[in-house]
Symmetry: C2
Subunit: 202 residues, 2 copies
């Protein structure tokens, strides 16, 4: 972690992977990354993850659109992401902060019905009553999707749009609630052949 600089809570970011369980995985991954408008964020892909950095609204908008694009192929697709904001070890570079707060994809994808099953975990770092913050936000998630207990995470069942909406709201509320360094991880599964739940809130 060279050239560390505390940039405050402005730069949100996400390190994520799309895993299509298909021989066509390269076409599905590159298709999703290329066909989504990422002009409002900084984005870079390597052989492990793709990193997106910018304003919180655009980071969620772009990752949601990339997942939806991959899931709409109908293949079994898993999405793994770590969202982060306020890391004291974060660097100042590798970011593009679009001036506006207009999400590119919200109006385009909000009608898409894509049932998913997900597990998310919220980590407000640096102390305080972090377990209370987590419990509050699990409660808040119930207004978006079906919520149930899982080990080391909270299970979410519903439409992909509702899951991403819930994740963005919960993350934003944790930041606005005073968490100086917020991390949230999520695993989302679409079109799983072993799915017995999911999508029942569509």
């Amino acid at each position: 972690m060279k050239n560390q600089q505390c940039m405050g809570p402005e730069i949100a970011g996400c390190s994520f992977s799309i895993h299509p369980m298909s021989d066509d995985f390269i076409e599905i991954i590159t298709g999703a990354l290329k066909n989504v408008d990422t002009s409002k964020v900084w984005m870079k892909t390597d052989d492990v993850t793709t990193t997106v950095r910018g304003k919180l609204i655009h980071v969620f908008d772009v990752t949601k659109a990339i997942f939806i694009h991959a899931a709409r192929t109908g293949e079994h697709v898993a999405f793994q992401a770590t969202y982060s904001l306020g890391c004291p070890g974060d660097s100042a570079g590798d970011v593009y902060m679009a001036e506006d707060d207009i999400a590119v994809y919200n109006s385009q994808v909000n009608d898409i019905k894509q049932p998913v099953a997900a597990k998310f975990s919220l980590y407000p770092l640096g102390g305080g009553n972090y377990m209370n913050v987590i419990m509050e936000q699990i409660e808040a998630m119930k207004s978006h999707v079906d919520v149930s207990h899982a080990h080391y995470s909270t299970r979410l069942d519903g439409g992909a749009i509702n899951v991403f909406e819930g994740l963005e709201k919960v993350f934003q509320a944790t930041v606005l609630g005073g968490s100086s360094h917020t991390v949230m991880t999520v695993s989302i599964s679409a079109n799983s052949p072993s799915s017995k739940r999911g999508g029942n809130r569509e």
Copy 2:
């Protein structure tokens, strides 16, 4: 989170997913889960992740063996895991604590050469000088594999066995160092067609 009970730091656990980027993903996943000896842990698979709970040594041993089993198919396989110990919201059930500390797979897999690229993040929750703990453990990781900076994580390049050895040591040191609630996430990629690095410490 019903029936919560603080169990102290004894029960380690991991919620993980294996993602083979192949049409044969079902056979690869079920093959890995079925053929690994999981008798020393509690394990349950649903449509999003597999959860393993037990003694720390066995949780790492079993997850390492499952990943190695899947990666040895030669397919591009991604492994995503969250290791956790000491969560105040953890429940007492769903666990099997084998009495011994003899890892089933250490002697069987330690000669396997499987280059991987990985990104890991350590989250000591509950306050304190958590950034110092993270920086210390990133330094400690350098004795196991090649370590480089990545956004929101630390990149590891080397053999799969060395990566898992480093992850277990770092997690254990964080717990023994006094962290009351320790979380560690890792993304590991094997046999990636886009890999330009990895395995150079084999």
